[in-house]
């Protein structure tokens, strides 16, 4: 999923200060899974902001809504019923959702309540870790299912570097050395001879090196 974390309260307070009423919009997909911007988080943030501004003597009206997704125009359209009643929108979706709301409601200020982080997976409850950076040309088949781009601190395609210590990355002892993981898995799969095949320099164009990316499905696009 796409993971995100709520911005610090101080930043959010400053952000909504100029407004009398806002629409706090959550998203039922990725940010719900990583407990950052789903229905529950919308409820807690709305309550927190309301109490803060009550105390400050400048009551803030907050409308709460959680859309199925904010990255599809059909769902963003649902905001039409609330949008005129508010001065601004505070979106608890990832960066994609915030931008889609801004695109649809051209004249309404839209702000992000979250810092979008990475594409990742759950390691265990409450812990999400980076797994994919969307490089556009997946090599997981060569590296035994561990991504050298997103999990190696130096994105080495022919690692490990000389700083690998006890299976951990030199940068942070809580981070696994991706190439140790790759090697362990190559061993488990009986593919150790693959290690000495040098992977060639990557073409970064599919990764965004050629500019903002787009996928067009000819069979589906009208």
């Amino acid at each position: 999923m796409i993971t995100a974390e709520r911005k610090p309260m101080e930043e959010l307070i400053q952000c909504v200060k100029p407004y009398r009423s806002i629409l706090l919009a959550g998203c039922n997909e990725c940010v719900t899974v990583c407990a950052a911007g789903g229905r529950k988080e919308v409820g807690v943030l709305a309550s927190a902001l309301k109490m803060h501004f009550m105390k400050a003597g400048k009551p803030l009206e907050i409308q709460e809504i959680t859309l199925e997704r904010q990255c599809d125009p059909e769902y963003v359209e649902q905001l039409v019923s609330n949008i005129d009643q508010v001065d601004a929108v505070l979106s608890m979706a990832c960066g994609c959702g915030v931008q889609e709301i801004a695109r649809r409601f051209h004249n309404k200020p839209v702000f992000p309540a979250l810092n979008t982080k990475f594409m990742g997976a759950s390691e265990r409850q409450g812990v999400w870790a980076e797994r994919c950076q969307g490089c556009g040309d997946c090599v997981l088949g060569f590296t035994a299912g561990i991504c050298p781009v997103s999990r190696c601190s130096k994105q080495l395609f022919n690692g490990p570097c000389g700083g690998s210590t006890n299976g951990k990355c030199e940068v942070d002892p809580s981070v696994d050395c991706a190439w140790q993981l790759i090697w362990d898995r190559l061993k488990a799969l009986g593919l150790t001879e693959r290690y000495e095949e040098n992977l060639p320099a990557k073409d970064w164009r599919p990764a965004g090196g050629g500019g903002p990316r787009r996928i067009i499905r000819e069979d589906m696009a009208s």
Partner: protein, 320 residues
């Protein structure tokens, strides 16, 4: 000969080669480069010039190499993949060769986390092994990495680093094989304190015949104090300092520790001279460059072959 590199000539002759390091200053101070490098004249065959070492901004390796060249010394251009994309790398490589710099070392580089700009974006457009391949193709095929012809290809003698002490150990010979496959000519190892482990690695290297395809220079760093020994043991990733070494350093009074460090260093060199496949030494006397001449002399590595240090005879009055 693949290149005009002096280091290549010395290694090809079968003599033990000696290289050392010069870390550029953290400012536009060419005089500091000259002072440091001058200490090494006549004692080493080539001098590595580091590239933003430990991810701290320093005068660029290329700029400092040019200063060394102007002094009549023989610089080795170090280049990390952390700070430059392949365009900038190739650009600097042909620029370096235009200044007569014909030997280089291809490295990944320490992570910005350790340096003075942890907020910087790392590049890592290609990794060190892909860089070796790239430089080899520039030299032997006369082609840029993108495939087009180079007008005036750089004939670089290509080096890389090897760390027999990093994890996982079982991979460390394979890594050397990968670099060899990519086209590396010579290797400088991480500094050696654990001689048993190093010899074990060399055995693995010899078993595969890699020692005949790549010139291996053993890395040597003298300990200054027991504090330094402990620091390197505990705080530096990829460094293996056995307890005996720390104990030995701590077993002498403070004012004698530096001498003990030099002693250990010389014993290491002696032992390594007898390890088949070791073709020379790379002396990294961090913040202690003035000791290099003494170490080279006491290790019996003088005189250095005549073909280097063009200005040496004038300066030293006949000493080769």
């Amino acid at each position: 000969m693949k290149t005009e590199s002096t280091l290549e000539k010395i290694l090809a002759s079968g003599d033990l080669a000696v290289t050392s390091e010069c870390g550029p200053p953290r400012g536009a101070l060419p005089q500091k480069v000259r002072e440091k490098a001058e200490l090494l004249r006549g004692y080493v065959d080539a001098v590595n010039v580091t590239d933003n070492q430990t991810a701290m901004v320093r005068m660029s390796s290329l700029a400092a190499c040019i200063i060394l060249k102007q002094m009549g010394l023989n610089p080795i251009l170090q280049m990390v993949t952390r700070d430059r994309n392949r365009l900038a790398m190739q650009s600097d490589i042909i620029g370096a060769y235009a200044h007569g710099i014909d030997t280089m070392l291809c490295l990944s580089g320490d992570h910005p986390h350790f340096g003075d700009h942890p907020m910087a974006a790392s590049v890592h457009d290609i990794d060190s092994i892909q860089m070796i391949q790239m430089v080899k193709d520039m030299r032997d095929e006369g082609l840029f990495q993108g495939g087009e012809k180079i007008d005036g290809p750089p004939k670089m003698f290509i080096g890389a680093a090897a760390n027999p002490f990093a994890d996982p150990f079982e991979l460390r010979v394979s890594r050397l094989a990968k670099k060899m496959k990519a086209g590396v000519d010579f290797i400088q190892t991480q500094c050696i304190y654990n001689l048993d482990k190093f010899e074990k690695w060399m055995q693995g290297v010899r078993d595969r015949g890699l020692h005949e395809k790549v010139h291996i220079l053993a890395g040597i760093t003298p300990m200054k104090s027991v504090g330094m020994a402990r620091y390197m043991k505990n705080k530096v990733p990829g460094m293996d300092v056995p307890d005996e070494v720390v104990k030995r350093m701590g077993g002498v009074p403070k004012d004698k520790q530096a001498d003990e460090g030099i002693k250990i260093c010389l014993e290491t060199i002696e032992r390594l001279k007898n390890v088949e496949g070791v073709r020379g030494f790379h002396l990294m006397a961090i913040e202690w460059e003035q000791k290099v001449p003494e170490i080279v002399e006491r290790a019996g590595l003088l005189p250095r072959p005549n073909s280097v240090n063009l200005g040496a005879q004038n300066v030293r009055g006949g000493k080769p």
